[in-house]
């Protein structure tokens, strides 16, 4: 059954954070202010690559109203950050490697004064040659950006003997695919308020996807114990992976500690584009072959990623892409190689889909080309080569088996959009506007969740009956618009029987929540579900035991219900949660911690849990202009039970909107290390007018009997498959293969058919 408001009935709820967001009354962290606060600004590099000869701050420091002008000399601890490998300077000392590199930061009484102070800082640069792309970076004569060279990370995976495999192939397709430098384009740009407290601690109000990671990184930079920092990190006006790494927090924290006053920083969109993360542009060359009957035999993929100047999660993204270019298909011989290279371009890093988007665009392109070469229906071709439930994962690792792949395959095969592809309806429009062409395509993915083998991936949460009678659910996850609060509330209502009013949700505050790991990698809903499952029995029985003693009853006669403890057999409210809390000396509390399940393999980055998803899309191409519109989408998603229908639909729709931008519009264009798209008037994301077509979502909730893992992640998968489906639809519409995203309209333009007729008839 399609997921929509009508089909889910009462489970479609008003989300707790909805009204404040819709009315604009919600205070985001970047809206906060404190009396007497200073305004911080960061001086970024003027050049993509240069040596710093000197930095002079005397003039800026002398300006009245300026309270802090900091350079690398003022960083008390580690002058570097990076989730996986701290190699990005907080404040550059002798070299800048991209236009977002920070050289100095200032705090002043007004934003205007801060800007004036920034302009008074004199930096003497000696220009260095710009490494403008990853292929150039890997040449022997390229300037080396780091002591270990320009290759941040290399990957490889081999099964069988791919050269031998190609010899057996009847059909071989070779193609190179390129994907864009996509920007997260969250509505709320980076920023926050940094408050030195009376007790010597520092409170950081700044969005992040993992408060404890920020706390650890900031403690390293400030050279203070982690416990002396409190990170408040929700609500967040969008992140999509882009705020997981530190951004302006080091500058706010340093300036606040230095001046002893609250400091506010909020980047303009210009600063955000310049300094912020983007999706890794990748160039993926593939060679894939089948036997005469269409069975895949050999698959070779070579990935080159532009990771920009510093590591952040570039290596992990490449690991993910390496796994996902293999995908949900069976081959005898596989050979994958990947390299992620440092360049003087913008920073690449974590972004919804995490390397899967690029990989699947290439892989699904191969499947469509091979099917056509064989004269087969592209979906039948996929079925022939699709993994079986008991098959190992792409890296031959054990995975949690489900029937997701085949069920998703069937859903597309049976959907009206796919059936229409085989029998296109003749429309009168073709006569009236022969320049309009339509096509339908589909694409498939299996998308891993969790951080994978070899990376600490903690999870957990805490339930408390608070002194005021509220059931407090505390998790270290973040609300960045995905509906985490609503999902958690609905789980508590449905699994425990509480009413919404009974519940208080506490997230995004390192002083108040346990470390549940990061809100990334499609993991939060799964981990909340698992936490609640582990907490349910101990927490419920402690509440009931205490209630039984207060009521002088047997626990077997009682149950948890709305408002309090109720009789098991009836509705009668015997004891409110408030009364229960009042009767207790100390809060009733249960906590759990565990790790995201991983595959028993040594292969770093290999996943254990997967979401299977496919989408069919119909496009309309106007050959006069080469412009493409997406008319309709049908998504089938096998991710276990739907925890929150509204959130689920929102994730798939929202993800597909990003995929539409990835496929048709978005690219942060760089030339010689400088952004050509510096603001949202040239970097274009889809508007509502670009996505008027209907989006149908079919959740496949089935899981095998005895499955212990519950709901799979859906946070990323919606953003993965639409790109290649659009490319396939364009092929049907125009006869042209797309190898580069975003699609270049010029490549799809045609001279109007009536002009060719004039030539022929002429």
């Amino acid at each position: 059954m399609l997921l929509n408001r009508a089909s889910v009935g009462e489970r479609w709820r008003i989300r707790p954070d909805g009204p404040a967001k819709v009315t604009g009354s919600l205070e985001y962290l970047t809206d906060m202010a404190r009396e007497g606060m200073l305004h911080g600004l960061v001086l970024r590099s003027e050049y993509p690559h240069a040596r710093i000869r000197s930095i002079r701050t005397d003039q800026a420091k002398r300006l009245e109203g300026v309270h802090g002008v900091l350079t690398y000399l003022d960083v008390p601890g580690l002058n570097a950050f990076g989730i996986a490998r701290p190699d990005q300077p907080v404040l550059c000392e002798d070299r800048v490697r991209y236009v977002g590199d920070a050289v100095a930061c200032v705090a002043a009484e007004t934003p205007e004064l801060a800007a004036r102070a920034l302009a008074l800082i004199e930096v003497d640069y000696e220009l260095l040659p710009v490494v403008a792309g990853p292929i150039e970076a890997l040449r022997g004569d390229a300037p080396q950006l780091h002591p270990q060279g320009n290759a941040l990370h290399r990957t490889s995976f081999r099964r069988g003997d791919v050269e031998e495999g190609f010899k057996q192939c009847a059909h071989i397709v070779e193609e190179t695919y390129e994907t864009p430098r996509q920007m997260h384009t969250y509505m709320e740009t980076e920023g926050g308020l940094f408050v030195p407290e009376a007790d010597g601690r520092l409170t950081v109000y700044s969005p992040t996807q993992h408060g404890f990671m920020d706390r650890m990184q900031l403690s390293r930079i400030l050279a203070v114990p982690q416990q002396s920092i409190r990170v408040v990190s929700s609500p967040i006006g969008g992140s999509f992976g882009g705020k997981d790494e530190l951004n302006v927090q080091p500058y706010g924290a340093l300036l606040a500690m230095h001046t002893g006053r609250p400091v506010k920083i909020h980047q303009t969109r210009w600063e955000s584009v310049r300094a912020g993360l983007k999706r890794h542009p990748m160039r993926i060359a593939m060679k894939t072959g089948t036997d005469a009957a269409g069975r895949l035999i050999a698959h070779r993929a070579s990935i080159v990623a532009d990771t920009g100047p510093y590591s952040t999660l570039g290596a992990e993204v490449l690991n993910f892409a390496t796994e996902h270019v293999i995908g949900p298909y069976r081959y005898d011989h596989v050979d994958v190689e990947g390299v992620s290279a440092f360049t003087n371009n913008g920073m690449s890093g974590e972004f919804r889909g995490f390397g899967g988007n690029q990989a699947i665009f290439a892989l699904e392109g191969q499947m469509d080309r091979l099917a056509e070469r064989l004269g087969m229906d592209p979906w039948a071709f996929r079925k022939l080569n699709l993994r079986r439930p008991e098959d190992p994962g792409p890296f031959d690792q054990p995975i949690a088996a489900t029937e997701g792949a085949v069920k998703v395959w069937e859903a597309i095969a049976e959907c009206s959009l796919w059936l229409e592809r085989g029998a296109p309806a003749e429309s009168g429009q073709a006569m009236l506007e022969p320049w309009i062409k339509t096509g339908i395509g589909a694409a498939f993915t299996m998308h891993g969740a969790g951080l994978g083998v070899g990376i600490p991936d903690p999870a957990g949460g805490r339930l408390t009956l608070a002194p005021d009678g509220k059931i407090e659910a505390a998790f270290g996850y973040e609300e960045f618009g995905q509906g985490l609060i609503a999902t958690l509330e609905l789980m508590l209502i449905e699994q425990f029987g509480f009413a919404a009013d009974d519940i208080r949700i506490i997230i995004g505050d390192t002083d108040a929540v346990p470390d549940s790991g990061s809100t990334t990698a499609s993991r939060a809903t799964s981990m909340m579900w698992k936490s609640l499952r582990r907490l349910k029995e101990p927490f419920a029985s402690r509440l009931l035991e205490r209630a039984a003693s207060v009521l002088d009853a047997e626990t077997g006669e009682l149950r948890l219900g709305e408002g309090g403890i109720r009789e098991r057999a009836g509705e009668a409210l015997l004891l409110t949660y408030r009364e229960l809390a009042d009767a207790e000396q100390s809060p009733i509390r249960c906590e759990t911690s565990f790790s995201f399940p991983t595959s028993p393999t040594d292969r770093v980055g290999a996943h254990f849990m997967y979401t299977y998803s496919a989408v069919a899309a119909k496009v309309e191409l106007n050959v006069l202009t080469g412009r493409v519109k997406v008319l309709r989408q049908f998504h089938a998603v096998a991710a276990g039970p739907v925890m929150n229908p509204q959130g689920y639909l929102g994730q798939i729709e929202g993800g597909s909107s990003m995929a539409l931008g990835f496929a048709l519009l978005e690219d942060a264009v760089m030339e010689e290390g400088r952004y050509m798209t510096r603001n949202l008037d040239t970097y274009l994301v889809p508007t509502i007018a670009d996505q008027r077509g209907a989006v149908d979502v079919l959740p496949i909730e089935h899981l095998p009997e005895g499955d212990e893992h519950g709901p799979r992640g859906i946070g990323e998968v919606g953003s993965v498959t639409l790109g290649p489906a659009i490319a396939a639809a364009i092929r049907q519409a125009s006869g042209k293969w797309v190898t580069r995203l975003p699609v270049d309209p010029a490549s799809l333009q045609e001279t109007p058919v009536f002009l060719s007729e004039a030539v022929n008839g002429g």
Partner: protein, 302 residues
């Protein structure tokens, strides 16, 4: 989104003239240190991007009387220069009589911008998307020149508008759209072809890559009685393709003529390119959309 802080110098003074003459006097007085501001939507983006510096004086035109109305004149419709794009869009007579102007205005920027931005500002920017549609209606401009009003053909003004030393202290009062000739309206067998296209990098709220307008009449036999072709888009100054218009007039609109027109547009239209679209794409697009409209008209007229 806040101002780009690096671009803010000192805050400009804002002057509020009540008459055109007063506004003109301010401009005359300040010279390059004074800038007329209507909706300010384009200026703001230029200041923010650091393309132009915020001037010392802003001469606010919103209080100048009589410039915000659409009036029916003797031989044309007069769009007051301070009429917002939104007001243009909602004006019934404009829509009925000059639908391409409404189409052009509808696709400029986004609603919030259209409520501030004015038709005069769009024209004064020289490369505004509305200009292409106005050209196809043979619009003229009425200026306050200090010693009175002066009317000038839009085509003539565009030729010199970007040249240094052009008369940029004049104040645009209104845009005049001439009503169609009696003859055109009386000849009921004539088939009208009239269409405006804007092609950008996305479907809405986008700068144009190409704007194209075609406006004219075919007689019952499919012969071109009159035709105007106008092209612009992006940073290209819009212009009429008068050579192509002349070559078409009096000719039968058949496959051969369509092919000829396509080739001529490709030759005559000289768009400025940028990193997002090259000249070849813009030429093909303009030629394709104009010829497609002509083809459509030729089919329904026979």
């Amino acid at each position: 989104m806040g101002l780009n802080l690096r671009e803010t110098g000192s805050t400009p003074k804002v002057w509020h003239p009540r008459t055109a003459a007063e506004a003109w006097a301010y401009k005359r007085n300040f010279g390059p240190d004074g800038v007329y501001v209507a909706g300010g939507t384009l200026l703001r983006t230029q200041w923010e991007a650091g393309i132009v510096r915020m001037p010392a004086n802003l001469i606010d035109l919103s209080g100048v009387g009589g410039l915000s109305d659409i009036l029916i004149g003797e031989d044309g419709l007069l769009l007051g220069s301070q009429t917002t794009l939104q007001a243009c869009r909602m004006h019934a007579l404009l829509q009925r009589t000059f639908p391409m102007a409404t189409d052009a205005v509808r696709s400029i920027a986004a609603p919030s911008v259209r409520h501030l931005a004015t038709i005069g500002g769009n024209v004064a920017s020289v490369v505004g998307d509305a200009v292409t549609a106005l050209l196809a209606y043979d619009a003229s401009l009425i200026w306050h020149t200090g010693d009175g009003e002066r009317q000038e053909e839009l085509t003539d003004w565009l030729l010199t508008a970007f040249q240094p030393g052009s008369l940029n202290d004049r104040l645009l009062l209104s845009v005049k759209l001439p009503f169609p000739d009696e003859q055109d309206r009386a000849d009921s067998s004539a088939k009208r072809v009239s269409a405006y296209h804007k092609v950008g990098r996305r479907e809405a709220f986008t700068p144009s890559l190409v704007t194209a307008a075609v406006h004219g009449f075919l007689d019952a036999s499919g012969t071109v009685e009159s035709i105007r072709l106008a092209v612009g888009g992006g940073q290209t100054v819009p212009r009429r393709l008068e050579e192509a218009e002349r070559e078409m007039t009096g000719q039968t609109l058949d496959a051969k003529l369509l092919k000829h027109v396509h080739a001529r547009i490709m030759e005559l239209y000289e768009p400025r390119e940028d990193v997002f679209a090259d000249s070849a794409y813009r030429k093909r697009t303009a030629a394709n959309v104009i010829v497609a409209e002509l083809w459509r008209a030729s089919r329904t007229s026979t």
